[in-house]
Amino acid sequence: MTLTTTTDAAAPALPTALAPTPGQTVGPFFHYALPYDGDRELVAPGTPGALLLHGTVTDGSGLPVRDALVEIWQADPSGRVVQRQGSLRRDGHSFTGFGRCTTDRTGRYAFTTLRPGAVEGGLPFFAVTVFARGLLHRLFTRAYLPLDGAEPDALLRSAGDRADTLLCVDDEGALRFDIGLQGERETVFLRWPREGR
């Protein structure tokens, strides 16, 4: 293709100079390509401070989505954004902050990770991306740690009565974060200012 600028008379000004490459669905056949050994274990199970983050992805009829892919990206427990290689080939002790997990037959994903710290005074959260067959473009959301008395931030306040879909819930020492693509408890998914429609 040829790179196209967005200065055509017909097109409204995009906030960027180059038009974005459109997304497409991840399709049904990514399972032999994207998953890798240790993809969902940001730390080895049994590591001091290891935390289970898990949940179920459901569709508009409430049924589990068995062929979704969930990715997380997070700060370390002290709130540092780690820039360290090794997410694809984990060495067993370096925390990289990135993880990837397919959903199983019950629509469930599960990561073994560390509790993210607050970055620059914000509320601590996992940045989450969701891919699936039938989903034409990836979806972004945030999985906030339970507030435990903290004040909601701007996003949680603006989400109104749907804000609870952005919050992890305590689940017997683990954190649970269910993702509803559609339906009664549809998750709040995010759009960024500069991405263009």
Partner: protein, 273 residues
């Protein structure tokens, strides 16, 4: 709609191509009439039947990226073997099909290269078959081709793969549905908000007009951005044909810092914000 034509095929029970064509055409007309340019696929696109129960029904919620969202995971030499960018050397022999080179640049919306970042691809073989247990297409598997590759972009944002041209394949969205030949791409930018999974297509594919996944990008110029260009300068003498495809990742906020390039240059030196 063809007058009197049956909606569903009697034996498969799936709707015919003409039903899908009508739906695609209807959406396309409505888009043109509305006059507002859309750069991304519709999430709610009924001709792609699997999207019906899997698209959000509520508007995506505006958010300003913060914290980790302003950064991307770091990948590099520790994660990838350089041989992973050649999909033709993963078996004991040469895979069957048209050997080709696919290369291009990954840029952000301001035209800056996305340096030292992960690119992952997967695809069907020359016969249109994936190495996937759920792919039931009765086309041959190729023992010398898995169809999976990874690489890291260079300092100018270039990626490069050697592979085999994938074949089109049938699926069950509707009766006699076929996907145009494509390679799946998974991309990271400089910010997590630039994360993208997409598909690269080949010029002149006769299945474009019939394919609801390609057509879910309702803007003709936008979907053309997924089509690679044949480039004779990339084609290699007596070896492989060449295709160029550049990728633009928008949604980023952070201006790359001078020091970003040096991140992880030294393997044991950890950098963090």
């Amino acid at each position: 709609m063809i007058q009197g034509a049956a909606t569903r095929h009697p034996s498969t029970g799936l709707v015919h191509q003409h039903v899908i064509d009508d739906e695609i055409a209807q959406t396309s007309r409505a888009y043109e009439a509305a006059g507002a340019v859309e750069h991304q696929p519709r999430l709610d696109y009924a001709p792609y039947r699997s999207s019906l129960l899997r698209h959000p029904t509520k508007d995506l919620h505006h958010a300003d990226p913060e914290g980790v969202e302003l950064w991307a995971p770091c990948f590099g030499e520790r994660d990838i073997d350089p041989l992973e960018s050649d999909l033709t050397i993963q078996g004991g022999g040469e895979p069957i099909g048209e050997r080709m080179v696919v290369t291009g640049r990954v840029l952000d919306g301001d035209g800056r290269p996305v340096r030292r970042q992960l690119v992952e691809i997967w695809q069907a073989n020359a016969g249109g078959r994936y190495v996937h247990k759920r792919d039931q297409h009765p086309a041959p598997l190729d023992p010398n081709f898995t169809g999976v590759g990874r690489c890291i972009t260079d300092d100018q944002g270039h990626y490069r793969f050697t592979t085999i041209k994938p074949g089109p394949y049938p699926w069950r969205n509707h009766h006699n549905a076929w996907r145009p030949a494509h390679i799946h791409f998974s991309l990271f930018g400089t910010d997590f908000t630039q994360r993208l999974v997409t598909q690269m297509y080949f010029p002149g594919d006769p299945l474009f007009a019939l394919d609801p996944i390609y057509q879910s990008i309702v803007d003709p110029k936008a979907r053309q951005r997924l089509v690679a260009t044949y480039d004779h300068d990339i084609t290699q003498h007596e070896w492989a044909t060449g295709y160029r495809w550049d990728i633009v990742l928008t949604g980023g906020h952070r201006t790359p810092l001078e020091g970003d390039l040096d991140v992880e240059r030294s393997d044991d030196e950890e950098t963090s914000r």
